[in-house]
Symmetry: C2
Subunit: 349 residues, 2 copies
């Protein structure tokens, strides 16, 4: 049986815990939970009879006998360091942490490969929509050239609400906050920081490129007003925050940006409403492949995390010693030139 | 380096060969090709300098030093027996063969697990659309309840052409044949045999059920006439061949059928035109996840096959001896009751 520890018992962590404590024979089982406020949180958690060790000391987890550590703390520090230490301790790691994967992913998957362990992050991009697997594995046999995607559920909820009701951005934001789709400070979402971290991850998977999220141009959606939607509607369009990346392998040129742009009303993107995510991936041989699904919410994110845990549990080589030396994923070492384009409304894709 | 052998040098096999002979350091390399007509086909193939062994004797492949065997022959016999012998010989196997996977998949993935090898079949369902990974891995952390999908590119090409032009089925079929989307005898496609084999595979992956394709009710699309489309249009719909499966885990009841039905004109399914495939997968926790892409064609199928080969190449444990005993995928042993419903046009989903 695969033994799992959880770091962080917030919205996502508690949803993961609920999925992993049901005692199914042969399935991964949650044995340890770390949380800074373990003492008070453990009272709210009834693990269905299965014994779970609670701790507020991360060392307890790192020195335990678990096979897989799920990092659900968020933020760069200390999450990045703890993931590194978990891999060094011979654990496989699953994370939903887009910032850590976007900035330190290269070092972490190299470390995981050296350790013969797995480092998985389906939940870092796209919520329950399995886009990390689609790009990193399902289309690995193609040469991918382009990604267009809605990667931020909060901004999509706000923009689709403005479109549907004609309300202002602040009204749409208040409604999204009331429904749990938006945080108190939504600037990471509206400004595009969240989407460009996710796009940087997808560029690594799709094109083998190491891209700093800060290199990706971002135009904020915070200044969009009802009149912009009226203008877009005149050309049979609406407005969505789109993350775009296109790689010209021959010229080694990457074009990458995140911006609110006008999309055709019949397009996949216009049809994504509320906190949905959607993506169209273009490959030389497979043409356009589309995928969409719930982009936010603890339950959707928990599905992606538990799927990664299950994948590791199926791969005994990533659990039992001795570690095999693998090279799971190699970034192209050659330099590339980053081109970024700023788009001004209205601009149709 | 992972060494790959190819069984069958037809449309799909030759597309796979073209993708695997480009000499990329560290990537899987094609070393052997079996074809009954090896002597004449080898003349058409220039492997870019890399040496490839051609043979018309399958024993040569089974006794070679290859790590992965790609089966691209099609049909149940002898493909099924050769896949079994390849796994017994310690090779990992990749196949596009929906009939073999639907009927003998259970025995073959058990054998692969006992051998510590991989048996992959992304190309058996959905062409380049990575639905096998999406259901079997990306959503493995959810409890899936329902699948609705367009799984046959030929029938979709015919029906969408009838819808677009008002032509007869035989005219649409002739056009599809001219474009290479339909075989001379399209009855497997129109009657639903192709889609129900694929649906049986998805039921195994999504619900852990062993379903004989012949248990799945199928209504043929061959009798659809232009007047049916006119009728569907009056309710703002159109007609698509849909494969449907819904599993009630509590009652252990599977409802599964393939039939031409009326779908809403704004739906994902109505928007799939030509030989496209599309699917909506419903999970208890992730809600609806959609995926679509090119469902037919040698290049699209080759992408899925090469992606599977790459996945095996990354998993050194599936290549280097000694084999580890794994249990990659377990069918639920409990019995279930199959419910099938025949749908009569027009019936909206």
């Amino acid at each position: 049986v695969t033994r799992v520890a959880l770091l962080g018992f917030g919205t996502v962590g508690s949803a993961v815990a609920r999925r992993l404590v049901a005692p199914v024979p042969g399935k991964p089982v949650l044995t340890h939970i770390f949380d800074r406020r373990a003492a008070e949180k453990r009272a709210d958690f009834s693990p269905n009879g299965a014994p779970v060790v609670w701790t507020d000391a991360v060392e307890t987890i790192l020195h335990s006998d678990v096979d897989v550590i799920v990092e659900a703390i968020g933020g760069l520090d200390p999450a990045g360091a703890w993931i590194r230490r978990a891999l060094e301790a011979g654990k496989s790691v699953v994370t939903a942490n887009k910032q850590v994967v976007a900035r330190e992913g290269h070092a972490l998957w190299s470390l995981a490969a050296r350790q013969g362990r797995q480092f998985r992050f389906e939940a870092a991009v796209g919520g329950a929509m399995p886009i990390v697997r689609a790009i990193g594995e399902g289309l690995a046999g193609d040469r991918l050239t382009r990604i267009d995607a809605i990667l931020n559920g909060t901004t999509n909820g706000v923009l689709s609400q403005m479109d549907a009701t004609g309300c202002s951005l602040s009204e749409a934001l208040a409604a999204a906050q009331a429904r749990g789709w938006a945080e108190a400070n939504p600037s990471q979402d509206l400004d595009g920081d969240d989407a460009r971290a996710k796009l940087a991850i997808l560029c690594a998977l799709a094109f083998g490129l190491r891209v700093d999220p800060l290199q990706i141009a971002a135009t904020s959606s915070a200044a969009i007003v009802a009149a912009d939607f009226a203008e877009a509607r005149r050309s049979n369009g609406t407005i969505r925050q789109i993350a775009h990346a296109e790689y010209d392998a021959a010229r080694r040129e990457l074009t990458a940006w995140v911006a609110p742009i006008v999309v055709d009303r019949g397009s996949l993107f216009a049809r994504a409403v509320g906190p949905q995510n959607a993506a169209v991936i273009t490959g030389e041989h497979s043409g356009e492949i589309g995928i969409f699904g719930a982009g936010a919410g603890g339950d959707a994110t928990a599905v992606a995390i538990v799927s990664d845990v299950v994948a590791i549990a199926r791969d005994r080589a990533a659990i039992v010693p001795p570690p095999a030396v693998t090279s799971d994923f190699t970034l192209r070492p050659s330099p590339f030139k980053l081109r970024t384009s700023h788009f001004v409304l209205p601009e149709a894709v």
